[in-house]
């Protein structure tokens, strides 16, 4: 290439970068095209970001079969052209030098390369030893088709319900919270509410680092002169706190009492929304019995500002301020929460309590007023919650316990009647405990890394790791190191996919580049094992007509040999599976459109229903007349999935309950754990991105400055963090990007060389079975 051409080409790239930035700066400008008509020589295609549940749209630049550029998708309403650091380095995450490229099987203690055929055979034989004792541990990073195939293989074919996703560890409390309050899962509001609110409250949520692009939407509004009050309730000061008008620091677990206290004040002042409450709400006690409003008032009597201030550490003035916000009928309030509420031994109840507050104050279903539960992973909603890859669930909001739901599912799948086991399988923590006990013989782990991310690792993994592990992943991880079979996977734009984000938005993308070496799609891996089981004569892999249960058919209804890689790789199997799954989504009014509709769009929020004029129309706000097509005219708000079929949501009387482990003389500190901006969860991908690794190379422990003074600790000193379960030595950071409250230390969990989950507790919410990673008791010793 001549210097002249080089310069011209470089100019084009500079120009493209500048145009993209100006467009993102000016939301009203016509958005630039992203297709191949840009003069930068790249082919640009849309995809959702691979990382968090915000679900930003990315435009991916391909040149010579390689991913060489990314930009925020200006046409995607989630991010309007913006990206955070993780999204920015999406491309680099694919090109780590140690990508897994060959299937491997453990022989004589070593993982040795084998052919795909051999690996598939080993897995099939292990399953056939006892299909009912084989499980799948999946992920909120599974695509919709991946989760769907896993469900059909295991629940439809193997008669086992032992499937659960890592999403159990991050959003199970949100799911059970919504189902118990509204009768159906997933948020009613949407990100647009952030553009219309005048108050944002975060409940234990560091959105500046965990959902950075949503935080930018808020900062952008402020910069444009909108007056928005931001109240940050937390147990640790974070980057989000810097933008807060009010920071309210509370003793861990007392969020339950704080919310009840605000409700107490609304009732006492008479400032709750009487019309909303009388028309749309019912009251229940935790014994599930109906309550009168008077009984609910009596329940709240324990939560006076004075008492709750003493318990929580929040001042009476701040408790009054919160009540003022929810008492003011004109205020438009968005509540946001994520792991701080969900990873909680009473996570379901705290979810219920936040809904109580919004229902009691009528701050629901109006533009700018909504309780909004954020999700951590890119398809925790689309796959785990909607496809239902949970131990108790079936696709589309169904459950295995229901004979009606099992029959519907068996009919859709054409399974033999009775094929689906009515007994729920093991949820995540139980799954690994039962493996240790020998009640599960084997497990197939896809797109996740439990040997690093499970709580109380010393106990949960020590014996479980002696069982048979199949691990599909793209890099070596803590879990591939204990695996018996390692399968190299394709990731993100190396395959076709669909994700569903936090705001019910379904987003589709096409394969753009080849995966390295012999890496193959997880969907193919499962289809290949299913077919091998069929070929070996396993009856579960035959449908009621004797045909292959997981058959993939072309547009003419002719079965293709999708279990053969050369056939699979030339055919869009994702489209077939997505359109098959679609039929499940109507029952609970979570309707999705046909696959091709998403090909043309930059994401649509369900329910997506066809208008009279033939246009597929998304729904911004559920349960709201004029927005949600399932709300009947004249109803205003209709909770049409309420269990009692009275169209009402439930305000639950949920009392404060102390956590199972609190600091004492032997273990006087709280331990809180979490994520950092630079790394995605256990860091297996972002740790391969030099720039991110360079910016955040290893784990550390944040200590409050007063505790550090008292213990004569300075930045860089090493301390041993010791709990009843394990210990870990880490360098101290005293004034880092986060400052935990006095008496608390905070440790991020991304560093696989420093496993803080050897120290954490595996106690979980009794309703959602989600563990609490945010509080256990430790002592710290200078080393």
């Amino acid at each position: 290439m001549s210097i002249c051409t080089e310069l011209t080409r470089r100019d084009f790239i500079v120009q493209s970068a500048a145009v993209a930035a100006v467009a993102a700066l000016s939301p009203s400008l016509t958005k630039p095209a992203y297709a191949e008509d840009l003069p930068d020589g790249l082919a640009w295609h849309k995809a959702p970001c691979r990382f968090c549940g915000t679900g930003c749209g990315v435009i991916v630049g391909i040149k010579g079969g390689r991913l060489v550029a990314v930009q925020g998708d200006p046409q995607n309403e989630v991010n309007k052209g913006l990206l955070c650091a993780k999204g920015y380095y999406l491309g680099a995450a694919l090109y780590g030098r140690d990508r897994l490229t060959k299937p491997m099987v453990r022989k004589g203690g070593q993982l040795v390369p084998v052919t795909w055929d051999q690996a598939i055979d080993v897995i099939a034989d292990k399953i056939l030893e006892d299909p009912l004792k084989f499980g799948i541990y999946g992920s909120g990073q599974w695509t919709v088709a991946e989760g769907y195939v896993a469900m059909k293989l295991l629940k439809g074919g193997m008669g086992s319900n032992h499937i659960d996703p890592n999403a159990r560890l991050c959003m199970a409390s949100a799911v059970v919270g919504m189902i118990t309050t509204f009768g159906v899962d997933e948020p009613s509001g949407c990100y647009d509410d952030l553009d219309e609110c005048d108050t944002v409250i975060t409940w234990g949520n560091n959105w500046a680092e965990m959902h950075p692009v949503l935080f930018s939407r808020f900062i952008d509004r402020r910069n444009r002169g909108h007056k928005i009050t931001y109240i940050d309730l937390g147990t640790r000061k974070t980057r989000s706190t810097v933008a807060a008008d009010h920071y309210m620091e509370f003793v861990p677990q007392t969020d339950m009492a704080i919310i009840n206290c605000v409700c107490y004040q609304l009732v006492k002042r008479g400032s709750y929304d009487k019309k909303f409450v009388s028309k749309f709400v019912r009251f229940k006690g935790s014994d599930k019995k109906d309550m009168t409003f008077d009984q609910y008032t009596k329940f709240l009597a324990d939560y006076t500002p004075e008492k709750v201030s003493e318990l929580s550490g929040i001042s009476v003035a701040h408790l009054h301020l919160l009540a003022d916000v929810f008492s003011d009928a004109r205020r438009k309030v968005v509540s946001l929460w994520c792991m701080g509420v969900n990873q909680h031994t009473r996570g379901t109840w705290v979810n219920n309590l936040i809904y109580n507050l919004h229902l009691l104050s009528g701050k629901f279903g109006k533009p700018g007023s909504t309780p909004f539960s954020l999700t951590g992973q890119p398809s925790a909603c689309g796959t785990c919650r909607e496809v239902g890859t949970l131990a108790h669930a079936l696709p589309g909001g169904r459950v295995v316990k229901s004979a009606e739901h099992r029959k519907e599912t068996e009919d859709f799948w054409k399974c033999k009647p009775g094929a689906i086991n009515p007994k729920p399988g093991f949820h995540t923590v139980k799954m690994f405990k039962e493996m240790a006990a020998g009640n599960l013989n084997g497990i197939w782990v896809q797109v996740t890394n439990p040997a690093q991310s499970l709580p109380n690792l010393n106990e949960l993994m020590a014996n479980a790791s002696k069982r048979f592990f199949v691990v599909s992943d793209i890099y070596p991880t803590a879990t591939t190191r204990i695996a018996d079979v390692v399968l190299p996977s394709s990731t993100w734009v190396e395959k076709n996919g669909v994700f569903g984000n936090s705001e019910r938005r379904t987003q589709q993308w096409f394969k753009m580049i080849d995966a390295p070496g012999q890496a193959r799609d997880d969907v193919w891996q499962m289809l290949a094992v299913a077919r091998r089981l069929y070929d070996k004569g396993f009856a579960g892999m035959k449908d009621r007509n004797g045909e292959f249960l997981l058959a993939i058919r072309d547009d003419n209804g002719k079965e293709i040999e999708a279990w053969k890689w050369d056939v699979f790789s030339k055919f869009n199997v994702d489209k077939v599976l997505f359109n098959e799954y679609r039929q499940f989504t109507v029952k609970k009014h979570k309707d999705i459109a046909p696959y091709d509709v998403y090909v043309e769009s930059h994401g649509m929020r369900w329910p997506v229903v066809k208008d009279e004029d033939g246009v597929w129309r998304e729904t911004k706000r559920r349960f709201v007349e004029g927005e949600d097509p399932y709300v009947k005219p004249g109803k205003e708000i209709q909770f049409y999935m309420s269990k009692a079929k009275d169209d009402k949501a439930i305000i639950w009387a949920r009392p404060y309950v102390a956590p199972p482990e609190v600091p004492d003389n032997d273990y006087p500190f709280w331990l809180n754990t979490g994520r950092v901006l630079e790394h995605w969860h256990t860091g297996t991908m972002t740790g391969r991105v030099r720039e991110l690794k360079h910016a955040m190379p290893s784990a550390y422990v944040e200590v409050h400055p007063e505790d550090a003074d008292q213990m004569q600790l300075e930045d860089g000193d090493r301390i041993n963090i010791i709990s009843r379960r394990g210990s870990l030595i880490l360098p101290v950071v005293v004034r880092g990007r986060g400052i935990p409250q006095k008496g608390m230390v905070f440790v991020p969990f991304f560093d696989e060389t420093k496993l803080i989950n050897r120290v954490t507790l595996d106690a979980y919410c009794p309703m959602s079975k989600e563990p609490d990673y945010k509080k256990c008791a430790v002592r710290i010793e200078k080393v």
Partner: protein, 82 residues
């Protein structure tokens, strides 16, 4: 050479100082300013320098947030594994 663009968000009272500071950073330039938001461009030798530049922008007094918009790294991409 990676080429990137980003938006640096500060208050309107600090934006002039932010624009000036970005202008003095080797490899960085300002494309447009709207209210408290600055569209900036970076051209650096490698991605570490690229990241270092926007880290510096994020640490400028008054800057609340840096959003990333466009990132072309075709000259510095590692060979894919085979």
């Amino acid at each position: 050479m990676p080429i990137s663009s980003l938006i640096v968000r500060s208050g309107e009272d600090t934006v002039d100082a932010v624009v000036q500071a970005i202008g003095q950073m080797p490899g960085a330039s300002v494309v447009e300013v709207q209210g408290g938001a600055v569209a900036a461009l970076t051209e650096t030798d490698d991605k570490i320098q690229d990241k270092a530049l926007w880290d510096r922008m994020e640490q400028l007094p008054g800057v609340v947030k840096v959003d990333l918009i466009y990132h072309n790294f075709e000259d510095v991409i590692r060979e894919p594994v085979s």
